[in-house]
């Protein structure tokens, strides 16, 4: 039997396998190395950065919920300059593809970040996190308005020669409309999904657990919503999808690929099991082997076929 071809290529990004880690859950790549060698990963997505450094929200920033995790880190990050000076040199040397995740509170923020990050940075791609409030437009989130989303992606696309991945928020009525918008904006790929907006109240203190009141819900609890969105976007939009949201076991990863994800990304699952990526990769490989599939790419969207 020939070994399964794990490598994958999409949107100008080449990965040794379809396994990525999610922005905000894997630091800048160095934190998990004693649990999961970076050589084993297709790629990592770095913590979201903004033009200026941010201290983020006060603690508590985390709350556990049934099969889920609420976080309100508030985009703490060292800022663009420090990222380029202190982090990028190390990131270039990482033995896996590194995708930068950029966030902004105005169109100009995104433009500034995109301009500073080009192919020569050594990064593999830019993931554009549009789940942020647009402070210039009354706090309306870029990620919930198709037009703003399209504009942001188009602006980023115009500034960088890196492949651009639009990361969509699930807190919308019409995810397909959002996907179409970022396609019009020129996105090369789509990441699905960011966190669901949620909250948890401490009934003894009678106040929200998170200092920020609201937080983003991630983990296995949201998987059914994420798989549904991947499925819908796969059917409607012809762009490669990076699927994420609750992936913890190899079965979850296969589910996302069958739904239409070309690559899959592990976030909260790393906290549960820091070796999850290794186990998932092994599981995907065996799943393909047992079915005589030559390449992991053969899994993509398979559940859409009528049988």
């Amino acid at each position: 039997m020939n070994p399964v071809n794990l490598s994958t290529q999409f949107a100008g990004i080449t990965l040794r396998n379809p396994l990525i880690t999610c922005s905000g859950t894997y630091g800048f790549g160095e934190e998990y190395t004693s649990y999961c060698p970076l050589e084993a990963l297709g790629g990592i997505t770095l913590k979201g950065i903004t033009p200026l450094p941010r201290l983020g929200n006060p603690v508590p920033r985390l709350a556990e919920t049934p099969a889920g995790l609420l976080n309100a880190v508030g985009l703490e990050n060292p800022g663009l300059d420090e990222f380029i000076q202190s982090y990028l040199p190390k990131i270039r040397k990482l033995p896996t593809a590194a995708i930068a995740n950029i966030s902004g509170f105005s169109l100009e923020d995104y433009v500034q970040l995109a301009r500073a990050l080009q192919k020569d940075s050594g990064l593999a791609a830019l993931e554009v996190n549009i789940s942020c409030p647009n402070v210039k437009h009354g706090g309306m989130h870029f990620g919930t308005d198709p037009q703003s989303a399209q504009e942001v992606i188009a602006a980023v696309k115009a500034e960088t020669d890196l492949p651009v991945i639009a990361k969509l928020s699930p807190n919308v009525t019409d995810i397909v409309g959002m996907a179409r918008a970022v396609q019009l904006g020129g996105a090369d790929a789509i990441s699905l999904i960011n966190t669901l907006l949620g909250m948890h109240i401490d009934i003894y203190q009678q106040r929200p657990v998170l200092a920020n009141t609201f937080g983003g819900l991630s983990g296995p609890a949201i998987r059914p919503v994420a798989v549904r969105m991947v499925w819908q976007v796969f059917q409607a939009v012809d762009l490669p999808i990076i699927g994420m949201g609750g992936i913890t076991t190899w079965q979850d990863a296969v589910e996302f690929m069958l739904a239409g994800a070309t690559a899959i990304s592990i976030g909260t699952g790393n906290f549960v099991n820091p070796q999850a990526p290794l186990e998932i990769l092994q599981g995907i490989k065996e799943y393909c082997e047992e079915r005589g599939l030559a390449s992991v790419r053969d899994l993509v969207g398979l559940a859409h076929h009528d049988r």
């Binding site: 934190e31 004693s34 906290f271």
Partner: protein, 275 residues
């Protein structure tokens, strides 16, 4: 390191009403562990794939026996996670990440003052052992609810060390009635020792650690405190567990309790941030 720790002992610690548990796990973690470090433990046997509760729980190393490849965790049953953990039976294997974080430093010479509030005592025991084996003088200041609590939480093991113990209880049932800080102030007043020979290490409720830090600052005793925060990754990757410190330049910076701590220099901690 991610390992499966086999449950060797799992029993109530002292009077059951205090809901304290002693859990001894077999595994290679002990070899590299240090007092003040912790593990992130999965509360259910990992052969079950249940995602509720989802996260690991941080628990300090309360005993490190590298000869036997054993670590001891002492914990209080607090909520759902520790309730489920409390059901683990001997022979089961629990998934543990660790040792994590940075532990307490030890002075080269002089006296080590240990200050504990409640179950903050647990990580201080291996520190006392290290200090004593290094030839340091050790004193313990420990405040708790009442006599029954202190006895349940391991008082007799401390008595066996033969070091001076300054106990306080809220109800006066053992030691001095009141707070541990009063005892420290008393000793500082009576003491002949120059404060430059003293190091302090504290673990307990935030308010207590803040008050002790204040005292130590005044008499220029360096103090290390062990902070707690809700954790996601436990390795510095998620920024869930930050605390605020003042750096050399006087600026407020965030540090990660899991990776940069849990032990920090008390003077550097900004206590009034919700951290």
């Amino acid at each position: 390191m991610l390992t499966k720790g086999q449950v060797v002992v799992h029993e109530s610690l002292g009077d059951e009403k205090h809901k304290l548990k002693r859990l001894v796990l077999k595994g290679p973690i002990a070899r590299t562990a240090q007092a003040g470090q912790f593990v992130a433990i999965q509360v259910q046997d990992s052969s079950i794939s249940s995602f509720d509760p989802l996260l690991r729980r941080p628990i300090s190393l309360a005993g490190i026996s590298s000869e036997n490849d054993e670590i001891t965790l002492l914990y209080r049953v607090q909520g759902r996670g520790t309730e489920i953990l409390a059901r683990a039976k001997e022979g089961e294997a629990l998934s543990i990440m660790g040792p994590l974080g940075h532990g307490f430093s030890l002075p080269e010479a002089g006296e080590l003052w240990l200050v504990a509030g409640g179950i903050g005592i647990f990580p201080l025991y291996p520190l006392a052992l290290s200090a004593l084996s290094k030839g340091l003088t050790v004193r313990l200041f420990w405040g708790g609810e009442n006599q029954s609590f202190l006895e349940s939480a391991g008082l007799s093991s401390w008595e066996k060390l033969g070091i001076p113990l300054y106990l306080s209880t809220l109800d006066g049932s053992l030691g001095q009635k009141g707070l541990v800080t009063e005892q420290i102030n008393d000793q500082l007043r009576q003491m002949s020792l120059s404060s430059s020979q003293i190091w302090a290490a504290a673990c307990g409720p935030k308010k207590m650690m803040q008050a002790v830090t204040e005292i130590c600052k005044n008499v220029k005793v360096p103090i290390e405190v062990s902070l707690e925060e809700r954790m996601g990754c436990a390795v510095g990757a998620c920024l869930g567990c930050v605390c605020t410190l003042i750096d050399e330049t006087g600026a407020k910076v965030h540090k990660k309790v899991c990776q940069d701590g849990p032990v920090f220099r008390g003077e550097e901690v900004v206590w009034d941030e919700s951290c």
